[in-house]
């Protein structure tokens, strides 16, 4: 077992073995969703709180369902309707919630480092569900899990992250995770969204999608945010779609077994045309179902090292004897 961490804050500080442990554990959880009773008692009696200071539907729902399938009690707490709007600090809000007897806090916050900060002040486990432009580890893990399903050996695999890499926590977590597993990562987009400095992370930078189209095995198409255009980082959405969107024409030129990923929600006609999003190379819905297994694995692994875990030596060896 290659896991003894209490928190999951990002992929940057995880080892290759820890990432593989997480992915392999998620593999074991996929089958749970196929049963007639889609539930296992592993986290029975534990409390998981989704502490979301940014709007999110799919990540929160995915964590909520993952917790439910592990038999944990899951509470949702959203920043907009909460005491932070009355002036309470992040630490105070989290400490108050923890005082109710919480085992795992899943946090999403617009500030980079928010999850790390909570891991320092809270006694319970913390899972980062996205902090600013820093990391979004479970999204990257589900991306990598989905890629691994189709291409078991990531060594030397060419993965392009296309779009607003500069502001993307999904991109950052993917870069760390993919590189640790031996993949070659490309960052593709306009120079305002993909600065050349990214090459210092060991990433191959390109400002021309057509130039790398034929050599890439996996395209991870990031969602483009309209605010970026309003801030003048690219001229128009139409121009962006034309230069950096995947469409039927471009798909004719990509490798026969290339994969198309998107963290969602898709701007149809911008990052992907509908024929690509719904086409045979798209694994976007696999990403969503795999996300559930990956989040179950994350909750399960950090949950075992939570407040009650890790204090008493196991009374007997696992396995072998009944």
């Amino acid at each position: 077992m290659n896991w003894n961490r209490k928190h999951l804050l990002g992929l940057e500080d995880l080892s290759r073995e820890e990432i593989i442990e997480l992915l392999d554990t998620a593999e074991g959880f996929r089958e749970v969703s196929t049963r007639s009773v889609k539930k296992v008692p592993a986290l029975r009696g534990r409390v998981v709180v989704n502490l979301f200071f940014e709007p999110s539907t799919r990540t929160r729902t995915s964590f909520e369902l993952a917790g439910a399938r592990l038999s944990a009690d899951v509470l949702n707490f959203s920043g907009s309707s909460s005491s932070t709007s009355k002036g309470e600090t992040l630490n105070d809000t989290a400490l108050n919630i923890e005082a109710m007897g919480v085992d795992i806090v899943v946090v999403r916050h617009s500030c980079s480092g928010a999850a790390y900060q909570l891991s320092q002040v809270l006694g319970c486990s913390v899972i980062n569900a996205g902090d600013g432009a820093h990391e979004h580890p479970t999204q990257a893990l589900l991306d990598i899990f989905t890629i691994r399903q189709h291409k078991p050996d990531l060594e030397g695999l060419k993965v392009a992250i296309v779009g607003d890499v500069s502001h993307s926590r999904v991109a950052r977590s993917n870069i760390w995770g993919l590189q640790k597993l031996g993949a070659e990562v490309y960052a593709v987009g306009p120079s305002t969204l993909v600065p050349n400095g990214l090459s210092r992370l060991g990433v191959k930078v390109s400002h021309n999608l057509d130039e790398v189209l034929e050599e890439v095995d996996v395209f991870n198409m990031l969602r483009i945010q309209k605010e970026r255009q309003e801030r003048g980082l690219f001229p128009t959405i139409r121009e962006y779609a034309k230069l950096y969107g995947l469409n039927g024409e471009r798909m004719k030129r990509v490798k026969e077994d290339a994969l198309v990923l998107h963290p969602g929600p898709i701007n149809r006609g911008v990052e992907l045309t509908p024929e690509v999003a719904d086409g045979p190379r798209s694994v976007i819905l696999d990403q969503v179902s795999n996300g559930l297994a990956v989040r179950m694995a994350a909750l399960y692994l950090v949950g075992a090292c939570g407040p009650q875990g890790g204090q008493v030596e196991s009374q007997r060896a696992s396995g072998g004897e009944s």
Partner: protein
């Protein structure tokens, strides 16, 4: 225990199970990972051949009970999740559950809960190669290869050549054997 001793232990166990399964229809062999599953695969080979009146052989499955343990809060780390593989319809099936060693009974409790999450079988038998006593739950096996009187601190380890350096055996450390 020599390989010959292990062989005759296994044969006795197999013969006992066969008496019941020979007349069964619509039944399944289900092994508890990892060594119970290895034994279940051997039984599948040996029992499948003689599938009674020419009917179809048993269905086969493997259980990973790591998510059903009752000592989760006592562990220092999460037990590895190996995955459960039950691809047949559990509802109405007769199931022979296989494990290598029966000890406290807690693994079997977990395995029973896990099977019931797939549906309601007609009945479940328990077959264990070795029973070492010291039960902590009211659970008994229907088919036992051999019973060993042991103390709680003794180690009883079934070795199977599929996973343990190519030999079959039962390793017993500091124990008192009765009968046999």
């Amino acid at each position: 225990m020599t390989p010959d001793d292990f062989g005759s232990l296994y044969q006795r166990w197999l013969a006992g199970i066969r008496q019941t399964t020979d007349t069964l229809e619509d039944w399944a062999l289900v092994g508890i990972k990892r060594r119970g599953a290895v034994l279940a695969r051997r039984l599948l080979d040996d029992l499948g051949d003689s599938a009674g009146s020419g009917g179809p052989g048993p269905a086969y499955g493997e259980l990973d009970i790591s998510l059903y343990r009752d000592d989760y809060h006592l562990q220092t780390g999460a037990p590895a999740v190996l995955g459960t593989e039950i691809s047949f319809e559990v509802e109405g099936k007769s199931i022979v559950l296989i494990d290598d060693v029966l000890y406290t009974g807690r693994t079997i409790r977990a395995a029973l809960d896990l099977i019931l999450d797939f549906g309601r079988p007609r009945r479940i038998w328990l077959a264990v190669l070795v029973d070492r006593g010291n039960r902590e739950l009211p659970i008994e096996a229907n088919f036992t290869g051999e019973f060993f009187e042991t103390e709680r601190n003794d180690r009883v380890q079934v070795r199977l050549k599929e996973m343990d350096d190519d030999y079959d055996g039962v390793d017993l450390t500091s124990f008192v054997e009765t009968g046999a």
